[in-house]
Symmetry: C2
């Protein structure tokens, strides 16, 4: 197998790393080892599992300086952003330690034997068990938070599953270093060898999805790649769940009342949100609905002004930058599309912000995916609407998304129906805030109806992301001595239990 | 479209019903209507939703005599069984009313805005919302409990989803009558028209899975039909979750200690379990592991004696009986298989019990699906093992299943590892009881790893079956007046809430 190459997108410099692409034999071996230790891992005490997650967070922080340096070199993202992302990633590991300690994720339920109108019911006790080895695909845009040490890895380990990660080719050195930190954390608490493994190379991803030891996959990336791997997971002789967080245009609506109240403030924030991380966020607002007329014009003018102050930016890779240029020029070529702002031509990994506009009447009747699909990068399409009816018709046309944001006035009469539309179309509905931040929290939902996510209920951020890696098992008529501790009447683990239907 | 035909499997008599097979236009119209009213249905108060489920149960019971009569005519199942099944079905609807009233299924979580190591976190509030119209495929073997008024319908309505059922061709008159009872219940509480719809005909099932208004499907049936419809659901331009409860051989292990203690008792119960409902249960024990030697022989002899006392039985349809005969004779023709009992040749809808045996050493090395796949009907394969090692190797070979039962002695040293195997291979692990009963309860899991279920975490029975029809939505920064009632700080609905990570 050939060596893995690391590219500096800012300079174009390439380094040949001392890492080989993973051979099919190695992948098979690592996946099988993950399966072989999965029972051991699943059966360790919850407190041990939490301690492993905390040790991993500690080790990441211990190597923060080198990790951030590697990531800067491989992503061209600025230091403060990467330092913040690493803090978030360590926080996320510790957050899942809290989720494990709390124990609700086991969904313990105990029904004592009883009589019922359907006859006698036996003693039934249910808890959730880990699915087994999980395959994870690191994303290009978050070298820490959605990559090797990211949310999919953290939630799967928290569920008690071994993890085999396929590193994203845009940051292999960062991936390797983060992997080594996590392994040190695992070793420090004597985790079984094979709890975490790392693969490199395009083909490695295909082998990973195909491997019979793998029980589920987590993926963050494009609709095209995600749908193709999802298909592959379904084509296995034993299909497995494929949790893909794919594309999203993240519609954002500014009402007339909001535009009247605070046009400049909204526009400035929006410019920041759509160009944050060079627009390389899965939650970048890509479709912005702004009223026609003077109030709307004020928002648009201020938005263009904000974009004008931006310099040329460096994207994560030349491939991503090429893709962005192609996408933006495809939008520009659409009939009835106006270019509001063009930051200028670029080449290589460079990009400038782009802003387009289209009339709501055109948008509502368009059948062109160019108008409503995600375009990754610092670009947005403004949809100008004359009336609420036009706005409604345009929103009817949009694709489901990860987020749906509305900027409204104090007692805005349009808020209610807009929130209703948002709830139908997205997994997170936001009022007077931008969608780009995705907090790690109990109440986060980072997922939405297809094509935002391959599984409509799944989230890849927040406490509920652990649910993807679990499967309930019911024990019927099992004497106390053979029951898992979590299911015993005296509740030795102190877990939240439902007993005979009542939450305890 | 042609008229629907009802067949009496006991007499072969056919009736042409005054019901047409559903045309593609009608299916489109019914699915679209379901979508059109789905928001109205979703937004009705929980107490109203519970009252609808109770009214449906009442109406089923009010028409019990005619329903049982229709079902006897169409299924040849005995009156007490059908009366019991109808009681169960009404109980199930009322059980889901309790689940709705209790409110945990909404999984409400509120995180107030706060600071964190990853920076300030906004106010985030999550609850689960209904997915929208659900397609349901009634099963052949339970004309009530897994058909029109069954668990998929009850749980989807409880989730707040409209339901479009495709009636099973084995009991169309029963389906129509049950549908009418449910509709009367719905009307009595002024449910929107289109809350429930019923389709007839083979093609209707295909159109149902394809219809763009349908958001998820529940199915109970064979691996072949289920896998084909699952594929269809994935092939849509917008794929939807397909919850199929498919085949399962339901392994049952008798240890040497158990055989020593109570051979006759175990054998008698086993004969009853494997022939209950003419073996037409998805939880029928089809693979029975019995030790060699005198203790095991006692179980086998007693089992054969019990089967000998059974008369010829009538299966649900000639198709199912033919399928059973083909399957049983395929087993009989396998090399190294011994026929332990053959109830005699049958034709039409008749069937007799069949019992086969195979050595564990043969079973463990076999690659023939005939040995380890489900054979629907009153048949089981006994696997005789000499040693624990042989038993382990054989259990390693079995396919995942809905259930895994063990009969053990009082302090049986084999119990622990057997339960571990069971937990890996099945969704329900049972000690010293038979798998055929599936109680409607908070702690039930009726599902298992592929091919038992298309989605590993899903259950089609019990409180958790409601989870299949829900999708979380997070509200970020939404002022109180626009928040759903369930998410408000003063908790006007009195729901279980998680607040800042703490269960309330």
């Amino acid at each position: 197998m050939s060596n893995v190459v690391s590219v500096n997108p800012a300079t174009g410099e390439t380094r040949i790393l001392d890492i080989k692409e993973s051979s099919p034999e190695l992948i098979r071996e690592l996946c099988q080892r993950a399966l072989d230790i999965s029972r051991d891992l699943a059966d360790r005490p919850l407190a041990w599992r939490a301690s492993m997650l905390r040790a991993m967070a500690d080790e990441l922080e211990r190597d923060a300086e080198a990790l951030v340096h590697d990531a800067m070199t491989e992503t061209a993202l600025p230091r403060p952003r990467l330092e913040g992302e690493l803090r978030r990633t360590a926080f996320q590991l510790r957050f899942f330690a809290v989720v494990v300690d709390e124990g609700s994720f086991l969904d313990v339920s105990i029904d004592h034997a009883t009589d019922s109108p359907m006859g006698p019911l036996p003693d039934l006790r249910r808890l959730r068990r880990p699915l087994g080895p999980v395959g994870v695909f690191g994303s290009s845009n978050f070298p820490f938070a959605f990559s090797v040490p990211g949310g999919d890895t953290a939630s799967a380990l928290a569920a008690g599953c071994p993890v085999v990660v396929k590193a994203h080719p845009a940051h292999p050195a960062t991936s390797q270093r983060a992997f080594e930190a996590l392994v040190r954390g695992a070793q420090s608490v004597d985790a079984p060898e094979g709890t975490l493994a790392l693969l490199f190379g395009f083909d490695a991803g295909l082998h990973l999805v195909d491997d019979p030891a793998i029980r589920a996959v987590g993926f963050t990336g494009s609709v095209a790649a995600g749908r193709s791997l999802w298909q592959r997971a379904n084509d296995r002789s034993v299909p497995i769940p494929f949790y893909g967080e794919l594309g999203s245009a993240n519609p954002l609506v500014v009402t007339t009342a909001a535009a009247k109240e605070r046009a400049i403030e909204i526009a400035t924030g929006l410019a920041g949100s759509m160009t944050l991380g060079v627009g390389q966020f899965c939650t970048k607002p890509g479709l912005v609905f702004i009223p026609s007329g003077a109030e709307g014009d004020q928002v648009v003018v201020a938005l263009v002004e904000s974009l004008q102050s931006l310099r040329e930016m460096t994207m994560l890779s030349e491939g991503i930058a090429d893709h962005f240029r192609t996408g933006a020029s495809r939008i520009a070529r659409q009939s009835d599309i106006h270019t509001l702002f063009d930051g200028g031509a670029t080449a290589g990994t460079s990009a400038t912000a782009q802003l387009f506009s289209v009339a709501a009447t055109t948008f509502a009747q368009s059948s062109s995916p160019t108008l409503y699909d995600e375009c990754f990068g610092p670009v947005a399409i403004i949809v100008r609407y004359e009336t609420t009816t036009e706005l409604r018709a345009s929103l009817h046309r949009i694709e489901p998304a990860l987020t749906f944001s509305v900027f409204v006035g104090g007692d805005d009469a349009d808020a209610t129906w807009l929130l209703e539309v948002g709830e139908q179309k997205a997994g997170r509905v936001i009022v007077n805030q931008y969608p780009t931040g995705v907090g790690v929290a109990w109440s986060m939902q980072h997922g939405g109806p297809w094509p935002a996510t391959t599984v409509p209920w799944a989230t890849s951020v927040g406490a509920a992301s652990i649910d993807r890696w679990l499967r309930p098992v019911t024990y019927q008529g099992v004497p106390d001595q053979w029951l898992p501790l979590a299911l015993r009447d005296d509740n030795p683990l102190g877990l939240p239990q439902r007993v005979n239907g009542e939450r305890r």
